[in-house]
């Protein structure tokens, strides 16, 4: 079932959480709402679920206006960051809850409920633990119980609020792969909120990048990573180096250095352009080719990890982060305090009319 969000505004006191937000979420996809805290992503998720009421705007499920519909009648599954399991119920009873509260007329028989719960528990790989209580489970197991519980009512939409936010890094990575696999099996329209760009890019079919109550960009992970629409998106989806430059006749001037701007990125002349380059798209050379490079001094080298991270300082005292492969680093034999040249392999120019 598709979700359509139209011109939603939500204000808490004097804080505007969402400003006229519109969004289309196609049926059967796994969509990530990505943004820093306070960007309104959780509020948007809660409005879709019906747990929060918008001040203006409408939510449609499959073309049907949901504004007057209470959360319990929307057929959404909601999974919270802190699981929100019923502590006094066993795992089995937690999962069965949604079926037990159905009106008598449509409530399945005891045996059917039992079968359904066991089926769900084996789906989330917890079949043996039905008799345990939530306090006897690990964080990852609790979150899987919460997911099974949400799926028990066969929701038309599955909403997850930072589902892996309170788990440690390893469990988190495991669970998100598992969620992706699960989604490929059951294909329920799913939306999850995260502030972790890696998580969003790895798991989602579609990423919605949000900032300050607005949507910055909607696209596939590939799209938003390689073709960021705004400086914010570029910034948020990974580390960047930022240079303030002057653009004139298709060239960018930065201190003594001059850079040719790539085709299609020809900006009108301006004295306040911003050039964004990701650390791994910068190269280091010993010799200058006189063009497209920038003199800088190495001040820090970190070799731990798959790439070597080097921090440099330009003549204008801008800090520059560069990531190069271990082999390349071996070849160059760079040392601390050495003067080298930094050359962007790819850069992105935004003029000042975008604001971060």
């Amino acid at each position: 079932m598709s979700i359509e969000v139209q011109n939603i505004t939500k204000i808490f006191g004097d804080f505007t959480a969402l400003k006229d937000v519109s969004l289309h979420i196609p049926a059967g996809e796994l969509t990530a709402l990505l943004g820093p805290s306070g960007s309104g992503k959780t509020t948007l998720l809660r409005i879709i679920s019906g747990l929060e009421v918008p001040d203006a705007g409408t939510v449609f499920f499959h073309g049907e206006d949901m504004n007057g519909t209470h959360a319990r009648d929307r057929k959404v599954g909601f999974v919270f960051q802190h699981y929100a399991l019923f502590r006094h119920m066993s795992v089995y009873d937690n999962v069965a809850f949604g079926l037990e509260v159905l009106p008598r007329k449509v409530k399945p028989r005891k045996k059917e409920i039992r079968e359904k719960v066991h089926q769900l528990l084996s789906l989330v790989q917890l079949d043996r633990l039905g008799g345990r209580f939530p306090s006897q489970l690990s964080g990852g197991q609790r979150q899987r119980v919460a997911l099974a519980r949400a799926l028990a009512v066969e929701p038309k939409v599955l909403l997850l609020d930072e589902p892996f936010g309170s788990l440690d890094a390893r469990v988190r990575r495991e669970l998100r792969h598992w969620l992706r696999k699960l989604h490929d099996e059951i294909h329920v329209t799913s939306v999850f909120v995260t502030h972790d760009q890696e998580e969003a890019l790895e798991v989602a079919d579609r990423v919605v990048v949000m900032n300050e109550g607005r949507i910055e960009q909607v696209g596939t992970p590939d799209d938003v990573y390689h073709h960021p629409a705004t400086p914010f998106v570029y910034n948020f989806l990974g580390n960047v180096n930022l240079f303030h430059a002057r653009v004139e006749g298709g060239k960018a001037y930065f201190g003594d250095a001059v850079f040719d701007l790539p085709q299609g990125q020809m900006q009108h002349d301006t004295s306040s352009a911003m050039i964004y380059v990701r650390p791994h798209l910068l190269d280091i050379t010993r010799e200058s080719s006189g063009k497209n490079d920038l003199k800088a001094r190495i001040i820090y080298i970190n070799m731990a990890g798959p790439v070597v991270k080097i921090e440099l300082l330009s003549a204008r005292r801008d800090s520059i982060q560069v990531e190069i492969s271990q082999e390349h680093f071996e070849r160059l034999r760079l040392k601390k305090h050495e003067e080298v040249y930094v050359r962007p392999k790819e850069l992105k120019v935004f003029t000042q009319d975008y604001s971060i």
Binding site: S49, G50, L51, H70, A71, R72, D73, R74, V76, G77, F78, F80, H82, A84, L85, F86, R87, H88, M89, S90, F97, G98, E100, V101, L102, F133, P134, S135, Q136, A146, R149, A150, A152, V153
Partner: protein, 276 residues
């Protein structure tokens, strides 16, 4: 012999704290109470039985336990409501109301007794309203229940408040998103989570009511067989220098209260299963 490796701790360890606890409880609770048993053990079994279960004391037990249970039950229901309102809603005068809950605690019980008697006697404010219905509040078992309810209120409210505060809003939201209506959410999610605390509040209110003396003696009228509570009966015996009789009744009360509290505790452990 099994050697358990000694665990290092920042605070004085098991030995010191356990020793202190035992000495403290022994001195304060166990020794005085065991004296009761020792002294009453001098009586023969038949004498004991005759004193402990004469028709007058039986009536007093019935009133004491009955009125205490009733008072604690009333408090369990309405104290719950008060705690709910105090935790869940914001309204002007909330702090005042919160302070008011503690009054039965802070007040000398005799003051409470006089105040209640003044209001519930036949020409008092409340008594006047009840009289046309043929209900006599003061100087009747009803008066005893009123006084015992009064003194027990803070126990239920104060034990429930922190637990209510701790209930996650998200748990209710989850229940709603799973299709539960408000009543189902309350009955299946909120109430069971409060069960152990409610039982604690109930047993505290009950225990307090059993031992209550000051507020009851004024409002009950102290008529033997009708409105005489056990603590009063003990007092009466003491005033007649019948120390053995007083001790015997005290022992019965002790055993009965202890077994009742034990049962409530077991019930509590049962409701708390799984929640560590």
């Amino acid at each position: 012999m099994i050697f358990v490796p000694k665990q290092k701790s920042i605070l004085p360890g098991f030995g010191l704290s356990m020793g202190f606890t035992l000495a403290y409880l022994g001195l304060l609770v166990l020794i005085p109470l065991s004296m009761l048993f020792l002294r009453s053990a001098s009586l023969s079994w038949s004498d004991f039985w005759a004193t402990a279960f004469s028709s007058r004391t039986l009536a007093a037990y019935k009133l004491s336990f009955g009125a205490s249970l009733l008072g604690a039950s009333i408090n369990a229901v309405f104290g719950f409501l008060v705690a709910w309102v105090l935790v869940r809603y914001e309204f002007p005068g909330k702090r005042m109301m919160d302070a008011l809950v503690d009054m039965p605690f802070a007040l000398p019980t005799a003051v409470a007794g006089i105040a209640l008697t003044a209001i519930y006697s036949q020409n008092g404010w409340m008594g006047k309203l009840l009289a046309p219905f043929g209900i006599q509040a003061a100087f009747s078992p009803l008066g005893v229940v009123i006084a015992l309810t009064f003194v027990g209120l803070p126990f239920v409210v104060r034990t429930l408040e922190p637990v209510l505060q701790e209930i996650d809003k998200e748990v209710e939201e989850v229940a709603a998103s799973l299709g539960a209506n408000r009543l189902q959410t309350f009955l299946k999610v909120i109430f069971p989570a409060l069960g152990p605390a409610l039982l604690t509040g109930f047993s505290l209110a009950f225990a307090r009511a059993l031992g209550e003396y000051g507020s009851v003696v004024f409002i009950s009228g102290n008529m033997p067989f009708k409105t005489e509570i056990v603590p009063l009966l003990i007092m009466t015996k003491l005033e007649q220098y019948d120390y053995t009789g007083a001790r015997v009744i005290a022992v019965v009360m002790l055993v009965a209260s202890f077994s009742l509290l034990l049962v409530i505790n077991l019930l509590q452990a049962w409701t708390r299963r799984g929640q560590s």
